[in-house]
Symmetry: C2
Subunit: 341 residues, 2 copies
């Protein structure tokens, strides 16, 4: 069913039908209702390709997910974030175009989807401390919102982020207050903004407590299960192993759990583990230490907010940064397990 057919059925011109359906004021209410009814009954949906061509808007947002390696699982955070964003898109009539990027084809993908006119805006995930993609996107001139932040740059841009520094600061402080002195941090790659922020918070808490940080307790690598597994194994082999481990994400946390389990140790008894990204429910059931709000369940909300933000930017044709709005919308960090004896 296309517009012309619908128009013919109604004895109207395509123009009028289009106007009726798109809420233009000059159409009489009687006609509009008649058109609406017919469209409904015929299950008419405007062809998006044609609409796009005529309006110049793709009504589509691109999400580009970094692919760490073929042998590591895609970080579940991204799907979660997109599930949230998708709610916003649905309501606004937008669609979500998904691409996966290796490090080497990332620029191509960005340039590509914009040049092809496939998207009106882009969500940038997992930024680096010096992220060339931001300059790239600004140069291309496509609206975008960063899921995360980039501190090492002057220009303005819009972002939405969890409060990484504060949450790792608070979590570390919590672990210290529970009596831990050797606290490990399984962290992301140093170039990643979030990893840097998390480390900063962690170190601040240590230094405030008069503890000095031990580099053998901190790792920097991709956020993969393998990373969590291997580094935790190393930690447990140390002469003086840590009594608490701060896992910087759900995925490395999985690895840590496995390593602990395989070593015949019990999490929360032999070693405490605080996993960033964990759900609230986790702690409702454990419940022997205080806890903060988990991230994972909030990531969906973050996606929703980021999408709203981006659509607003697109609608206003302004790229005014709106960081401050959401700067600390999440308080994160969580901990489980009793203090060491």
């Amino acid at each position: 069913m296309k517009l012309t057919e619908l128009a013919e059925k109604l004895g109207l011109s395509p123009t009028t039908v289009s106007r009726a359906l798109n809420g233009y004021p000059e159409v009489s209410e009687v006609t509009r209702e008649r058109v609406r009814r017919m469209a409904e009954s015929q299950n008419y949906r405007p062809n998006r390709r044609a609409t796009h061509l005529a309006t110049g808007r793709a009504m589509t947002i691109g999400h580009i997910i970094p692919l760490v390696s073929n042998y590591e699982m895609v970080n579940p955070i991204f799907a979660e974030f997109m599930a949230g964003a998708s709610q916003t898109y649905n309501q606004a009539g937008y669609e979500l175009l998904l691409s996966f990027a290796d490090d080497d084809n990332e620029e191509d993908i960005y340039r590509g989807i914009v040049a092809k006119g496939a998207v009106d805006g882009v969500i940038l995930h997992s930024p680096q401390r010096k992220d060339p993609r931001i300059d790239l996107l600004q140069q291309i001139g496509v609206p975008f919102v960063v899921h995360g932040r980039v501190s090492e740059r002057e220009q303005n841009y819009s972002w939405i982020d969890v409060n990484n520094r504060s949450s790792f600061y608070q979590t570390t402080k919590l672990l210290i207050s529970l009596g831990h002195k050797r606290i490990a941090l399984i962290n992301g790659k140093e170039q990643k903004e979030f990893a840097w922020r998390r480390k900063t918070g962690y170190e601040q808490a240590l230094s405030e407590a008069g503890l000095k940080s031990d580099s053998s307790l901190v790792s920097n690598a991709d956020m993969t299960e393998t990373h969590g597994l291997n580094f935790t194994k190393e930690l447990l082999k140390q002469d003086e192993p840590p009594t608490a481990i701060l896992a910087s994400s759900y995925v490395v946390g999985l690895g840590a759990r496995r390593a602990i389990s395989e070593a015949g140790l019990v999490m929360g008894r032999d070693v405490s583990v605080a996993v960033h990204d964990d759900e609230l429910s986790y702690f409702h059931n454990g419940g022997d230490v205080p806890l903060f709000t988990g991230t994972r369940s909030s990531v969906r909300q973050a996606g929703q907010l980021a999408a709203e933000l981006l659509l607003k930017i697109i609608a206003d044709k302004s790229i005014a940064p709106v960081n401050q709005l959401l700067q600390s919308y999440l308080v994160v960090g969580s901990s489980t397990g009793p203090a060491p004896a």
Copy 2:
């Protein structure tokens, strides 16, 4: 940069340029090379919306991910599968349109994206034993491939699936051979095809060993971490708790791990756990029991294959089922932990 501009720059007609770029044979190699160079240097990319409109093909595949609840994470399997599919799409010049569906808006979404001409084909995830969506898609007439199978129907359709029955049969058999007599199964909803197949395999192994199945050891619910957590807790509270637990997916497996950990038990010592979907690497490092090939790392490959299959169907304009090709491309099931004393 658009086609007409490029053509003008070259002193050629748009047609010739289009033909040169799209590999039509009637263009001279000299011209083709000249065009190619210019296109490259001008970073020209054909506008997809226009191409779509002209050709009638959207060059886009829709993936619809079921959303279980707002409070449960999106199953990581889907992202993994899409990452694989996306490789195929990239090579073939296709794009991936992602939608999330609640149970109640699912039909709308399918009808919508097809009627709007947004996609040329659809991948259907996580089918039910009696899945109305298959009839729906066939009625709509859009090419599709099912990730999973639907046994309760006569009509043909294309699918790709892991060999659920066989893998749960084999895994259960393995656990029995290790001496386990009470083996629990944390399973998906009964309506789901995969859950039904898994249970069938599990029961077959039990009955072959002369063990009778105990319904208090089998659960049926959405594949969520909460489900795994709660059911495992129940299991561990039983007068005679199971010595082995078969977790039907990665996500419920997470819950099981948590419950075991929170109960102060050690996985692989106090209770054996076999997790479907686990990675090979898991067992390389534990390694005290035989194991099969894990699913998780293969899911990406499954996505790739499904995508190839779908593109083939689209290209051939045939919807001849191609099930048999891939019927058992994966052998799955895995196990960890020693036998009980």
